[in-house]
């Protein structure tokens, strides 16, 4: 019996259409639109001016505080505008627009650096560099990595968990990265183990990626510190709390962090970015994006520069198929539809999902029939139907005391609801209000 988390969870159709497609390099875009707020926390501060020449990897926006991150220029070129452009949040946000210098060779260099295994840096310098090089969690939440890694002295820390679960349907970016860059990822894991003084690491991979499990098992045969855990296929296993529970059978306390039970969780993409930052001095300026959809002919995985407009990606796979209704940034479960194709790829874009007419529309909401399906599938053990009603009726204090803030917004409840009730919409709304009320109270 494979390991998994015990409470709730669903198994939507996997639709991993692109798992056999190797990661291609996306042509360098003519223009990049780099938002200054690509991470959770304080937006970065722009430190370039219009008409400035920028080099590839140069810092163009400085971290605005502790929970913030540097932003680097993904291309060599000239800053043409500092403008507000609709980004993945659906609102116009400050962006740095850079025109790529077509003559600058550094723009077209290959990413395939030779593998470098020796770790020469001191732990302190490693953490500083992760901060400087703008590394954020690439699983989708984009939480600045250096914050996660700043462990207070005296904290008991015994395991590093590597999240290679990729439980979202359709997405294969992490899967391909694990297949193609397994050795680099292992070096990345060792870097973090060295930096945090941990001697145990576990890579969690769902059983629908058997090839990745095999590769890592083969590579870690002689390694006593790093283990591979094959997990049952279940959504939302990629959630930190669910993953810790599945692998180590430890329950992260409510409103707590994995750190409270001695664990730090990082995504494989983040690990690879850390490897490149430490071993090859490369800041986070590109990432793997799965461009997929049932009607797309050339759905595939790409190395994409941060700031590339999504229209470029869509053109690369052969344009939008007829009857396209919705384009989602991220996976179908937690992703968010984008407003237009000018939206740029950010550090958190793990996939672009093109959905056609027949799959796009949501059902007409009907009354709750008290079937309890949502309670059954909630991985956090909440009562989604109750939380929805409370936030619909404006009873936010009660919603707060019913632990609305522990919801991880996985959307399992909305997925299973036979009455098509917009559970997550209301819960998410309730969360923002409860959060506001809590800050007022404090």
């Amino acid at each position: 019996m494979l390991k998994t988390f015990p409470k709730g969870g669903i198994h939507p159709p996997e639709n991993k259409l692109t798992s056999a497609k190797s990661i291609k390099k996306m042509p360098v875009p003519k223009m990049v639109y780099v938002p200054i707020s690509q991470h959770i926390g304080i937006p970065s501060e722009i430190i370039v001016n219009v008409k400035d020449k920028v080099e590839i990897g140069q810092v163009i926006a400085k971290s605005g505080g502790f929970v913030s991150s540097n932003v680097h220029s993904p291309v060599a070129g000239v800053v043409t505008k500092l403008d507000k452009i609709i980004d993945t949040s659906g609102y116009k946000k400050q962006c740095i627009v850079i025109r790529t210098d077509a003559k600058n060779e550094s723009n077209f260099e290959e990413i395939d650096y030779p593998l470098k295994k020796d770790i020469t840096m001191e732990p302190k310098d490693i953490l500083q560099r992760i901060n400087d090089y703008g590394i954020v969690g690439l699983g989708g939440a984009t939480f600045p990595s250096h914050v996660k890694l700043s462990v207070k002295e005296g904290t008991v820390l015994d395991h590093l968990i590597i999240n290679g679960v990729e439980c979202e349907p359709y997405l294969t970016a992490d899967h391909r990265l694990m297949l193609e860059k397994a050795e680099e990822i292992l070096v990345g894991i060792k870097i973090l183990m060295h930096a945090l003084h941990i001697d145990k690491a576990i890579i969690g991979i769902e059983n629908n990626k058997k090839d990745a499990i095999d590769i890592f098992k083969k590579l870690t045969v002689n390694d006593s510190g790093i283990k591979v855990a094959a997990l049952q296929v279940k959504y939302p296993q990629g959630g930190e709390k669910q993953l810790v529970r599945a692998i180590l059978n430890r329950e992260v306390p409510k409103n707590g962090l994995p750190l409270d039970v001695g664990v730090i969780v990082h995504n494989v993409g983040t690990i690879f970015a850390i490897y490149q930052a430490i071993q090859h001095n490369k800041p986070l300026i590109e990432r793997v994006v799965t461009v997929t959809g049932k009607k797309l002919e050339n759905a595939s995985n790409y190395w994409v520069k941060i700031g590339t407009p999504i229209s470029d990606l869509v053109n690369e796979v052969g344009g939008l198929p007829e009857g396209t209704r919705k384009i989602v940034n991220g996976g179908p479960m937690m992703g968010k539809a984008i407003k237009n194709l000018d939206v740029p790829v950010t550090k958190g874009t793990s996939g672009i999902l093109v959905i056609s007419e027949d799959e796009a529309s949501r059902g007409e909401p009907k009354n709750c029939i008290r079937c309890g399906e949502c309670v059954e599938v909630c991985p956090m053990g909440l009562e989604p139907h109750l939380l929805m009603n409370l936030s619909e009726k404006g009873m936010y204090e009660k919603a707060g005391s019913e632990d609305i803030m522990t919801c991880i917004e996985c959307g399992s409840c909305s997925y299973v609801c036979p009455s098509h009730r917009p559970l997550l919409d209301y819960i998410r709304f309730g969360k923002t209000i409860v959060k506001k009320l809590n800050t007022v109270k404090n």
Binding site: I86, S89, G90, Y91, K92, K336, A337, K339, N340, S361, R362, P365, P422, D425, Y426, R428, F429, T432
Partner: protein
């Protein structure tokens, strides 16, 4: 037979007396003094419990009025100056007279002038769709059209115009309680002074984008050309972030700005139709007026 009747009468009378004594003692012992003025003031208030005054209901507002020394800052928008005057008489305190206000909708982006570029599927609530994205049109400042303001209005003073998809305020019913102002996630609704004939001149747009982008998103958007600012004889117009705002305290309702606005984003309400200058000789006009008189 008669004995049992007597017994029950005696029993009930004694039970009643005991209960009465207990009630009397308890009511004396735990008596809470309440200023009779509070009830009196509460009777004067409109009992709408709309919270427009800042207190949760009319009773708590009455308590506040009685307890506060200087009530010139307190105002019941529903009752208005008349009610406040009566309250002041009862309490023997001074109230400041306030100009009555009225809610105005500062967006004219109806379906015909502001094209939809996306489709929103989800709960029909402005608060929720504002949380998710900038709305179905390309204007991220304008009305979302899901009617949160109409839902919160306790006086049925607002409705959604089906033709334009925008909320409309019914001037006669609006009590200026301010519930819609708070409900609107875009801050479109503003309280502006209500003149005798409900005359108002205001900018019906909140778009802060640059001219080209604003105009592309909506035909009647304020494009920040500052023509209104230049022509205003009283300097009532301020331009902030490509957006004009007319200060109602300074505006004299001369309507010069309405004429120069190239996108017609400045709204005038309830003014009589403008007299078209006719080049008709005065004699004829006289004849006309005489005719009317004879008809009458």
């Amino acid at each position: 037979m008669s004995e049992s009747v007597l017994y029950s009468v005696f029993l009930l009378v004694s039970l009643g007396s005991i209960a009465a004594i207990v009630l009397y003692v308890v009511s004396k012992k735990f008596y809470v003094y309440e200023d009779p003025l509070i009830a009196e003031v509460e009777d004067l208030l409109p009992a709408a419990n709309c919270a427009g005054c800042g207190s949760p209901g009319c009773k708590s507002f009455a308590e506040k009025l009685v307890a506060t020394e200087d009530i010139s800052n307190l105002f019941c928008p529903v009752g208005g100056n008349d009610v406040m005057k009566l309250v002041a008489e009862v309490l023997g305190k001074e109230v400041a007279e306030k100009d009555p206000t009225l809610a105005v909708v500062r967006c004219q982006g109806g379906c015909d002038v502001r094209p939809k570029t996306t489709e929103y599927q989800g709960p029909r609530s402005c608060a929720i769709s504002a949380m998710i994205y900038s709305g179905e049109t390309d204007c991220q400042y304008g009305c979302l059209g899901d009617g949160d303001c109409v839902t919160v209005c306790k006086f049925d003073a607002m409705y959604m115009d089906e033709a334009t998809g925008l909320p409309v305020v019914i001037s006669d019913k609006c009590t200026s309680c301010g519930a819609c102002v708070e409900a609107c996630p875009r801050d479109i609704i503003e309280m502006r002074p209500k003149n005798k004939r409900d005359l108002k001149v205001f900018v019906g747009c909140l778009n802060e984008d640059k001219a080209g982008i604003a105009k592309k998103a909506c035909d009647v958007a304020c494009i920040g050309c500052s023509k209104c600012q230049d022509i205003c004889p009283k300097d009532a117009v301020t331009m902030i972030n490509n957006l004009a705002y007319i200060d109602p305290a300074i505006c004299t309702l001369c309507r010069k700005c309405v004429e120069v606005c190239p996108t017609h984003s400045i709204i005038e309400t309830n003014f009589p139709p403008k007299k078209v200058k006719k080049e008709t000789p005065k004699v004829e006009a006289k004849v006309e007026s005489e005719n009317i008189k004879t008809d009458a």
